[in-house]
């Protein structure tokens, strides 16, 4: 199968207080704070996973995006290729603040474990029992062609049957997630123009 034959099986946006799948808004919430919005999202999708509340904001965002796309699939050989701009900076700052206190510095282990962006892929893998290859890239902006090249290689070499790709960015209360699943069958052709268009869809 050539890379030109791979498809975008499904896609999800989480931004501006809305969660959508394949262009259809599934949930919206007027909460201004991300923490309230993502908690409402978790409740709306009846996600029964208490460890969600221990995650940092980046992981919560990625987790819910993956939840929307993977909750009804039986496929387990799904690789993960995610990217963002801010890395884990939001959590890094919290850790920095904790260890910089003049009056007694105590690092929080629960914060420290999230001071890497790829931890969010670990959370997704645990939730969906994925033992697949994964990579997280830090880019200045969404670069679908780079993610697609990597995804194509994983599919062509049969290291994965599907690949969850995308952009999941969180910093200082601002959030933006666009995740999509690449597979042999799907809704839309896999090409950079299509992905760029979908990413920019409001």
């Amino acid at each position: 199968m050539s890379s030109a034959d791979y498809k975008i099986k499904s896609y999800c946006h989480i931004r501006d207080g809305k969660v959508s799948k394949n262009g259809e808004v599934l949930f919206s919430d007027s909460s201004e704070e991300f923490s309230a919005f993502i908690k409402a999202t978790y409740k709306h999708f009846e996600t029964d996973y208490s460890k969600f509340f221990k995650m940092d904001n980046l992981s919560k965002l990625a987790f819910m995006g993956a939840e929307v796309l993977l909750r009804d699939t039986d496929e387990k050989n799904i690789a993960l290729i995610l990217s963002n701009r801010a890395s884990s900076l939001d959590t890094d700052r919290k850790h920095q603040a904790a260890i910089s206190k003049q009056s007694g510095a105590f690092a929080s282990p629960a914060v420290f474990v999230y001071t890497l962006p790829n931890i969010c892929m670990g959370e997704i893998s645990i939730r969906h029992e994925l033992y697949s290859e994964n990579s997280f890239f830090i880019f200045a902006e969404f670069k679908p062609h780079l993610l697609s090249d990597y995804a194509n290689d994983l599919l062509e070499t049969e290291k994965a049957n599907e690949v969850l790709c995308g952009w999941v960015d969180y910093d200082k209360g601002k959030y933006d997630a666009f995740l999509y699943v690449i597979a042999k069958k799907g809704l839309l052709p896999l090409d950079t123009g299509e992905l760029t268009k979908l990413y920019r869809t409001k």
């Binding site: 208490s50 460890k51 969600f52 509340f53 221990k54 007694g104 105590f106 690092a107 929080s108 282990p109 629960a110 474990v113």
Partner: protein
């Protein structure tokens, strides 16, 4: 001692982000790990930091935590006997 137990329950719920768990739902002898509250290894580290930060107790050997953190009862007893603040 009952005041300390209540304080511990409140701290555990807040610091370990136990969503939808209330103080009333934690019995003094409930196991904190495994079948009980379902805390994990990172939570155990948080509890060790909490002992140090809030009660001035430094655990020299983290393995000690296994017995100390069995339940609210065991935690409260250990803190009452060893606290420096």
């Amino acid at each position: 001692m009952s005041e300390l137990k209540l304080e511990l329950k409140e701290k555990i719920i807040e610091q370990l982000n136990l969503e939808d768990v209330s103080v009333d739902e934690i019995a003094d002898n409930d196991p904190l790990f495994g079948e009980g509250l379902g805390l994990d290894s990172i939570d155990a580290l948080e509890l060790i930091v909490m002992l140090d930060k809030d009660y001035g107790i430094k655990l020299a050997d983290p393995k000690e935590g296994r017995k100390i953190f069995e339940s609210i009862d065991t935690m409260a007893a250990y803190i009452a006997a060893n606290r420096s603040n």
